[in-house]
């Protein structure tokens, strides 16, 4: 029983990434793809959790910004013939700039306006992807050529998997450290009480925008990793259900828990893959999971782990229901 003492968010994370690192040795191409998709979603959910879970901002942008990142990478690769190593960071920064410009007017106002404005923006970008034929090629999408990882590994699948693994690991590590810094504390302070945060000298708009920008950057980065993985980017991958799937991952994993986001991404990517053929079942499952988690397991998986494991400590976890839990 002593092993229980060593299960912490950090050690569990290291074990998960260790398992994911050896996955290519015994997985076939399909499971390698699922593993790769999981890593992309880990980047996405960590960014979304930073926004909803830690900063308390509810925005519907991450689904469509994921798409903007994927499209930007594809366009930089195909039309500007940039190398993949240059296209990804450019696309991520581009995505961040787009996201911040749109959210800036709403970030000055109360949280509801951000939610409303970003829902509309998500629909708008989806429309642009469908109708701006010269650039986005409309509904048929853009073919993305595979990346050549020749000197490092022989196959694209392995190479791309390890690139995504390294990026996801760095993102998780960076985010954990960011949240330990005074920026992270400021995000949580803004979430808990805007008035109190302001009274101790935290500039609300500045920190909200910062959290938002980091989240958008991650979404763009995830899009850049997603584009060559599928080999094609099409608008329908990035409709409103994309962001709802991400909401489900973050909620089920636990708001305000990076470890929870990783667990949520792993579990729900698998569920999504097994329900791929049944759209209505997918909707019922993901919508139902959001509701059931909020109603019956507030805090999600990470809260349950905290209950069972004495060593599981996450002081910045978000309380979903004020009167239920006390950390």
């Amino acid at each position: 029983m002593t092993i229980i003492k060593f299960i912490t968010p950090r050690s569990l994370g290291l074990v998960v990434f260790g398992v994911l690192a050896v996955l290519p040795a015994f997985a076939n191409n399909y499971w390698l793809f699922v593993g790769n998709l999981t890593l992309v979603y880990i980047v996405l959910t960590v960014g979304l959790n930073l926004l909803i879970g830690y900063s308390g901002l509810l925005a519907f942008m991450n689904g469509i910004l994921f798409g903007v990142g994927a499209y930007a990478t594809a366009i930089f690769r195909v039309d500007f013939s940039l190398s993949y190593g240059l296209a990804i960071p450019l696309a991520a920064v581009f995505t961040m700039v787009i996201g911040v410009i749109v959210a800036l007017p709403a970030l000055r106002l109360s949280g509801l306006y951000l939610a409303l404005a970003t829902v509309a923006f998500a629909q708008f970008i989806l429309w642009v992807l469908l109708h701006w034929d010269q650039v986005t090629r409309g509904p048929s999408g853009i073919q993305v050529p595979p990346v050549n990882y020749a000197p490092l590994t022989d196959t694209f699948e392995n190479g791309h998997y390890y690139l995504t693994l390294v990026v996801a690991f760095i993102i998780v590590w960076l985010t954990v450290n960011l949240l330990r810094s005074h920026y992270g504390r400021a995000f949580v302070a803004v979430r808990e009480s805007e008035v109190a945060a302001e009274s101790i000298g935290i500039d609300l708009t500045r920190y909200k925008t910062l959290a938002y920008a980091v989240s958008a950057l991650y979404a763009g980065l995830a899009g850049g990793l997603f584009a060559p993985l599928l080999g094609i980017v099409v608008p329908e991958s990035f409709d409103l259900s994309q962001v709802i799937v991400q909401f489900a991952m973050v909620t089920v994993g636990g708001l305000g828990s990076i470890a929870g986001s990783v667990i949520g991404a792993i579990g729900l990517v698998w569920l999504q893959e097994s329900l791929r053929a049944f759209k209505e079942l997918q909707e019922v499952a993901f919508g139902g999971m959001i509701l059931l988690t909020i109603l019956f397991f507030p805090g999600g998986v990470s809260a349950m782990l905290k209950k069972w494991l004495p060593s599981w400590r996450e002081p910045l976890r978000r309380r979903l229901l004020d009167h239920h839990e006390h950390d």
């Binding site: 106002l109 306006y113 404005a117 629909q123 759209k279 509701l291």
Partner: protein
């Protein structure tokens, strides 16, 4: 061209206003935006459809019955989802309504057909257009428009002169103070969610003969209703009506004179312009001070 665009713009605008009024009713009482409102609309429409085609009820009866059924749907959602979350912070509730909307969309798709399958309801009245001051008007358009006005007036009277309406406003102002004054806040909320869904049902029943019902109809409509509420000022009933009509008119004029595919983005452009230049909306926002 212009008369036609004006009538069609006003009709869809009246529909957006009706949907927006449902949103505003819930917002004014609970302080939350219901992201599942579009799905309440969709399911309300399918209630009417089921009674007509599956149970063989006469038109008017099914249309009238669909409204109380929608009320029950809203009240059940309140008891199951929102009452346990009464003390939860706003983002949790929004997240819950998002989950509910996705769940309801899946249920709608499972029960009433596959993706992209359109189901139309036959019109109650003669579908032939007639001329009003030289403008071609569909009778159904007039009914939608008239019903939106009636709902608006009804709610105005309800909030102004009835005890229940005043209780709703009191709970929006402060749930805690309302408790102290002896108001059963839970019951007011159940009533509110029910009324919100019933308004969505009214809108669906009126609009179904003019458009086609699909399980995906909710989200697009919801965004237009958002544009209407933000344009009118979040929480303002008359603002929602005027905002809805303006959104409908803008859409139809942009679609007619610039490009028909631009119709879909008019709502977003309106939201952005309002947020940048006049965040409190045309009629002063009821909600900005909640910031």
């Amino acid at each position: 061209m212009l008369p036609y665009l004006l009538t069609s713009g006003l009709t869809s605008g009246a529909l957006y206003a009706l949907v927006a009024i449902g949103l505003v009713v819930v917002y004014r009482s609970t302080g939350h935006i219901n992201f599942a409102h579009g799905e309440f609309f969709m399911i309300g429409g399918f209630f009417a459809y089921s009674m007509i085609t599956m149970l063989g009820f006469p038109y008017l009866l099914s249309l009238v019955l669909a409204v109380p059924l929608s009320f029950c749907l809203g009240a059940v959602c309140d008891r199951a989802v929102f009452r346990p979350l009464m003390k939860a912070p706003g983002t949790t509730i929004v997240l819950a309504t998002v989950g509910l909307s996705y769940l309801l969309k899946g249920v709608g798709r499972y029960v009433w057909g596959g993706k992209g399958e359109y189901i139309s309801i036959k019109s109650i009245v003669d579908p032939a257009p007639f001329l009003v001051w030289g403008m071609p008007v569909l009778p159904q358009q007039l009914i939608v428009f008239g019903a939106a006005m009636l709902c608006m007036l009804g709610f105005f009277a309800f909030f102004r002169w009835t005890i229940a309406g005043k209780m709703m406003q009191a709970t929006a102002e402060s749930a805690f103070a309302s408790y102290l004054a002896g108001i059963r806040v839970e019951r007011v909320y159940t009533l509110t969610w029910g009324v919100g869904a019933a308004v969505a049902g009214v809108a669906a029943v009126l609009m179904a003969p003019l458009t086609l019902l699909t399980p995906d109809i909710g989200s697009g409509l919801l965004i237009k209703a958002f544009a209407a509420t933000i344009l009118g000022g979040l929480g303002s009933m008359s603002g929602a009506l005027v905002g809805g009509l303006l959104v409908g008119l803008c859409e139809s004029l942009i679609g007619g004179y610039i490009d028909s595919s631009l119709q879909e983005v008019a709502a977003f452009i309106i939201i952005m312009i309002v947020l940048v230049f006049r965040p409190s909306g045309l009629f002063g926002a009821y909600g900005v001070r909640r910031a």
